[in-house]
């Protein structure tokens, strides 16, 4: 294995981590503020990807598609919050799981109805096509670097939003004391809708950006959703910082594991078997990591005080 390959995979891991962060940040924010577990978060990711692909196909502009993905996912988030989700805040987790599972069915089949069963494809915008040379000689796609940069910007933006703005202050107040925030005269129902729409927009953005790397299809959201769960379980539910570190950890460990484990196992097994066992083991690696972290810290690396 060369240095160039390792660097390339490390960047791929970062890119996966960034994408997971966009998903996990919304999930953990929604849980932190409203105490809600939202399985339909993956559907919002899918909505973002479809909106981007459809608008980009109609207008020829990826950038308009990206705007549409944010707008559509945020709108879809606000609508389900108003119609369904707000009835669930006081319910037990089982009800939340089921109602949001029902939303997945509705979103998935609804999307199939509108767009059919065939995947859509989304082209990388001309500005971000091509590759740059990495140290060591490999070529790395500009688009993936752009995703990493976008994720870093979003992380920074969230940090400023939550730490420095009035909205952020209200969110933090909502996390620590729900009665308190009502007493402060903040319209809590509106705040919840805004937080939910914000989380949805982040998921939609992730879906749109990934849509140009993979095909855009129904069901694309759930594997990512489950990885995002692993991320926030590792990071500590309710903690944005935990979500960021957890996401990068999962992204890098998963990607590097798939590269390194099969090679590592060639020390013990003949190459054909090592590849097979290594691939199977690598697919389980992040879950094993999650189990180990939980064994030591059952509430994750950065447990939020109230959760």
């Amino acid at each position: 294995m060369t240095f160039a390959l390792a660097l390339e995979q490390l960047l791929n891991g970062l890119q996966l981590g960034v994408m997971l962060f966009l998903m996990a940040a919304g999930l953990t924010l929604i849980f932190g503020v409203m105490g809600l577990i939202n399985l339909a978060h993956g559907s919002l990711y899918m909505v973002g990807a479809f909106a981007c692909a459809a608008v980009a196909a109609a207008t020829g502009s990826f950038w308009l598609g990206l705007v549409a993905s944010l707008a559509c996912a945020a709108a879809a988030g606000a609508i389900i919050e108003l119609l369904v989700i707000r009835r669930l805040y006081d319910r037990e987790h089982l009800d939340q799981v089921l109602a949001t599972f029902a939303l997945i069915l509705i979103f998935s089949e609804g999307t199939r109805w509108v767009f059919g069963s065939f995947p859509l494809y989304l082209d990388i915008p001309p500005l971000l096509q091509g590759a740059v040379a990495l140290p060591g000689g490999a070529q790395y796609p500009v688009y993936r670097l752009a995703i990493i940069a976008a994720g870093a910007l979003v992380a920074l933006g969230l940090y400023v939003l939550i730490g420095k703005t009035r909205l952020g202050m209200r969110i933090r107040a909502g996390e620590s004391d729900r009665e308190m925030i009502g007493a402060l005269g903040v319209d809590i129902r509106t705040l919840y809708t805004v937080v939910f729409a914000l989380g949805a927009a982040l998921a939609g953005l992730a879906g749109a950006m990934v849509g140009a790397l993979q095909s855009v299809q129904v069901g694309m959201g759930e594997p990512v959703l489950i990885l995002a769960f692993v991320v926030i379980v590792i990071g500590g539910i309710g903690s944005i910082k935990g979500a960021l570190l957890g996401a990068l950890l999962v992204g890098v460990v998963d990607t590097m594991g798939r590269l390194l484990l099969p090679q590592l196992l060639t020390l013990f097994f003949p190459p054909s078997q090592a590849g097979m066992i290594g691939a199977a083991a690598a697919s389980m690696l992040i879950y094993v990591m999650m189990a180990l972290i939980l064994a030591v810290k059952p509430r994750g690396l950065f447990p939020a005080a109230h959760a």
Binding site: D95, R112, S283
Partner: protein
């Protein structure tokens, strides 16, 4: 004097038996297969109901146990058919009783492992972690090529039961029906036993249980493993019904469906899983006949149930659940 719920339960049990027998008499094996599907899904959900209904453990990972049971059947049958030894010189088999035992033990042991880690947490953590571990098993099945990987594994000839021709749909149905009734009987015994008392009390008030000197963790872990074993048995039967096992049995969607069955029928009720499974299979058949997009409507029905009809079908028919 029987309560209204008991009468409805008896009616459900009789209907599940009578409909396929009648269908068989009129030469309609399709309905026998449909009823077999109901019985098996009800068995799987009854397993989950031990953990979820009695213990309040919202496992979103029971597909793992369902699938492990299925793969146990598929792998043993494949080796039994080909004659290749399995491992450590053990041979496969096509005898259902052996397969069931292996399926239950395998699912139970994995349940013990997953439970031991997941039960250190609670609430949403538990939901997410069980989901994640099931996904781990799913990806393992996909990336392990020896038994079909993504494509799954076919069982060429349905496995055998001593003295019964299992290839006749009605016979196989009866096997599944008996398994379901045995599981429901076991559920009743456990619910009213000391163990069940402690398990249900831990759902209602964990601190209370610890304060009388019972450690909730051990009670829950035992319940989780039993629950996994029962769902594993259902998985083995499901594999024999379809004569096919694939990673889709292990998918998160399957886990969700098992919970849905319980809720559609009525949470915390003995016959909730059966009522739910019957409803689900009827929806699937009727709605599925009308539109390819039947899951859209299933979603709407489910959403309505959760938001407005919390007691499920049995809640509508039999009123509030009662406890001793």
């Amino acid at each position: 004097m029987l309560s209204r719920e008991s009468l409805i339960n008896i009616l459900l049990a009789v209907l599940l038996l009578a409909v396929p027998l009648a269908a068989n008499a009129y030469g309609e094996p399709f309905y026998v297969t449909l009823a077999t599907r109901v019985a098996i899904l009800a068995l799987a959900a009854t397993g989950l109901n031990l953990a979820l209904g009695l213990g309040g453990l919202v496992s979103f990972g029971h597909a793992a146990f369902f699938g492990i049971g299925g793969y146990a059947a598929g792998i043993l049958a494949t080796h039994g058919f080909s004659g290749d030894p399995l491992f450590f010189g053990l041979s496969g088999t096509n005898q259902m009783p052996v397969i069931w035992l292996v399926a239950m033990v395998a699912a139970g042991l994995v349940g013990l492992l997953i439970g031991a880690i997941s039960l250190r947490t609670s609430g949403v953590y538990f939901i997410m972690i069980t989901l994640a571990f099931a996904q781990m098993v799913y990806y393992f099945a996909i990336s392990w090529p020896a038994y079909g990987g993504e494509d799954g594994l076919s069982i060429l000839v349905r496995n055998q039961f001593p003295g019964v021709n299992t290839m006749r749909p009605v016979n196989f149905f009866l096997i599944c029906y008996v398994a379901l009734m045995a599981a429901l009987g076991l559920f009743v015994l456990i619910r009213s036993s000391r163990f069940g008392t402690a398990l249900q009390a831990a759902r209602q008030n964990e601190v209370r249980v610890a304060t009388v000197g019972i450690a909730p963790y051990r009670i829950r872990l035992t319940a989780f493993a039993l629950s996994a074993a029962m769902t594993g048995l259902a998985g083995a039967l499901f594999a024999d019904l379809n004569r096919f096992v694939s990673p889709s049995m292990l998918s998160w969607h399957m886990s969700g469906e098992l919970i849905v069955l319980i809720i559609l029928g009525g949470t915390g009720r003995l016959f909730g899983p059966l009522a739910g499974a019957a409803l689900f299979v009827i929806f699937e058949y009727v709605l599925g006949g009308l539109t390819e997009r039947w899951q859209f409507f299933l979603g709407l029905i489910l959403l309505g149930t959760v938001l407005f009809a919390r007691g499920g079908l049995l809640g509508l028919l039999a009123g509030k659940a009662r406890h001793g």
